[in-house]
């Protein structure tokens, strides 16, 4: 759509700008303040420059958490995106069953995150949880608190359970938007099911899949509540992801300086990756505009 140049449009954006600035800029400045200063309490600060950043950057603990976080996000994306597309292709196109499926699929998305953690924590317990009990009866040694592999698998299954629906709903919406004429053209050409998917459906899903990948990347990279409730970052520090490490540092040990420096770098990593995604998305949008 051709947009009109009009700087008075700023007035319409102003409320949003002020509201978000109030919630974002002021707290961010506090974080920056902590990141470059040290304090002995009573609001007396003195400048320490980039000391905290050097501390954090040379801290093995942070690098280990970052590595775990990257592996976790990569696994999550590798499972949830293909699974989401596959399930979306299985969904009925219309009717009461389609509505019912949508409601059931959206259900996990609406459960508060600490309740999701609680559900899976209870579900995985070997004494009272269905999953843990069943695995235990099958003779599989499964103990969240002691076995790092078990903890990882549980967290990944939990995240798949919790968030694949988002990818499904996005892909489903994308599929619904493909005009029937495309499928008819495929039928005339006697295209195989795979060819229809590869040459008609997948290219049309490009836009929604980018949103799905972006949202899933951001949210899995920021994950805090669910692993905190289920494993508490354990056993040892096997599932201590970035957020958990950060909160431990800031609220547990009250190392505000390093925690703030950590926050800023954490935020920058997310920003960088998201900026890359966003640029790709905007460029795709531009290509889609009919010339």
């Amino acid at each position: 759509m051709q947009k009109t140049q009009n700087n008075r449009a700023w007035f319409m954006v102003l409320p949003v700008f002020l509201l978000v600035a109030f919630s974002a800029v002021l707290p961010l400045m506090t974080v920056v303040n902590y990141a470059f200063n040290d304090t002995f309490g009573e609001n007396v600060f003195f400048w320490v420059g980039t000391d905290w950043f050097q501390d954090v950057l040379t801290d093995d603990r942070m690098w280990a958490a970052l590595k775990r976080q990257l592996i976790f996000s990569a696994i999550i994306l590798a499972i949830e995106v293909p699974l989401g597309i596959a399930i979306a292709l299985c969904m009925p196109k219309r009717g009461i069953w389609a509505s019912l499926c949508l409601v059931l699929l959206a259900l996990p998305l609406l459960i508060p995150w600490n309740v999701v953690g609680t559900i899976w924590q209870l579900f995985a317990r070997i004494d009272i949880g269905l999953l843990g009990y069943t695995l235990d009866q099958l003779g599989i040694s499964y103990n969240l608190g002691q076995n790092a592999t078990a903890a990882w698998i549980t967290l990944i299954v939990m995240d798949v359970w919790h968030w694949t629906s988002l990818v499904i709903l996005l892909s489903y919406a994308g599929l619904q938007a493909i005009p029937q004429a495309y499928y008819q053209a495929g039928r005339i050409d006697q295209a195989s099911r795979w060819a229809v998917f590869r040459y008609i459906e997948l290219p049309k899903l490009k836009g929604v899949l980018l949103i799905a990948v972006l949202l899933r990347f951001m949210d899995s990279f920021m994950i805090y509540t669910e692993p905190f409730v289920v494993t508490g970052g354990g056993p040892g520090s096997a599932t201590t992801f970035l957020s958990i490490d950060l909160v431990k540092m800031a609220l547990g040990q009250f190392d505000l300086g390093p925690a703030a420096a950590f926050s800023i770098m954490y935020f920058l990593v997310i920003l960088l990756v998201s900026w890359a995604f966003y640029t790709i998305m905007v460029n795709l949008d531009r290509e889609d505009v009919p010339k």
Binding site: R8, W10, M91, L104, D189, L271
Partner: protein
């Protein structure tokens, strides 16, 4: 159109449709079962006594009891947790959608100085880890005397809900042809009357979807709401952690509380079910 048609390689004809459909239906049913089993287990536990939960594994409550739910509805800490959470969620939804409407209109219709940067800056707030903001928010709202009020949580949640609402609404508004705006102005409508009388009804489903998302993300976040409240506004998250640790291991009540947190979301979903798929695509399909 023809380009798409000719790009298709001519290969074997499609498999018999019915077999393919059957396989996909089975896969779908299996996946939905996977989604429902943990929820079933929670509901199952919520109707059991603690003795039964801890002593035997039963797929069905041997002696179903409503005691866990009675505990919740007779204890004001519990039920006020739900009321408090609903209050700030609704406040946040109203604030977010109200401010996002004109902004999304501006982004979808006009280009202005710094529009792209502003849009990306808004999105970056959706990307900020709440854990980063927990402590600064606590200090900010304490210093302006809003700590432990509903509005503090509602405002804090605006951080990620307003950008999301702008993003969703902008997608829906883009789909409305610009000629409609121009015709209305020619017909002598003021901007405000045009926006409320003509434009908003046109994107009603988009507004519903945006409101649903604000509701959802405000409802599921318990990290910020726990940080920003203490005595007057006890949220359900606080009630759940406090009660389950204070009385030892009261699994039954914990499970019942969990079931009750699913209910408001399920009710809201039912109302937007026809738009929900499109809404998840942020109007961009």
């Amino acid at each position: 159109m023809t380009a798409v048609a000719t790009a298709l390689p001519r290969r074997r004809p499609a498999r018999s449709l019915s077999a393919g459909t059957a396989v996909s239906r089975v896969a779908l049913v299996l996946y939905i079962l996977f989604l429902l089993v943990p929820i079933y287990w929670l509901v199952n536990m919520s109707f059991k006594t603690n003795v039964e939960i801890l002593s035997t594994m039963t797929l069905w409550p041997a002696r179903p009891t409503l005691q866990n739910y009675v505990n919740i509805f007779s204890d004001s800490t519990w039920y006020m947790g739900y009321v408090n959470s609903l209050i700030y969620v609704l406040m946040n939804t109203v604030i977010s959608v109200t401010v996002a409407l004109p902004a999304a209109y501006a982004f979808s219709r006009y280009s202005f100085v710094g529009d792209k940067h502003l849009f990306f800056w808004l999105l970056t707030n959706r990307m900020a880890p709440p854990a980063v903001f927990a402590l600064p928010f606590f200090q900010l709202y304490s210093s302006i005397g809003l700590f432990d009020t509903h509005i503090a949580v509602a405002l804090a949640h605006c951080l990620f809900n307003v950008p999301l609402a702008v993003w969703i609404l902008e997608g829906f508004m883009r789909g409305v042809p610009k000629e409609i705006d121009e015709t209305a102005y020619v017909d002598g409508y003021s901007w405000f009357r045009f926006f409320t009388r003509i434009f908003m009804p046109l994107i009603a489903s988009g507004i519903g979807v945006a409101a649903f998302f604000c509701f959802m993300f405000s409802w599921v976040d318990l990290l910020l709401s726990r940080t920003l409240t203490s005595v007057n506004v006890k949220t359900i998250g606080v009630a759940m952690t406090r009660t389950s640790s204070a009385t030892g291991l009261d699994y039954g009540t914990l499970a019942a509380a969990g079931v009750l947190t699913i209910v408001p979301g399920a009710v809201v979903i039912w109302f937007v079910r026809n738009y929900i798929a499109k809404g998840f695509a942020l109007g961009r399909v």
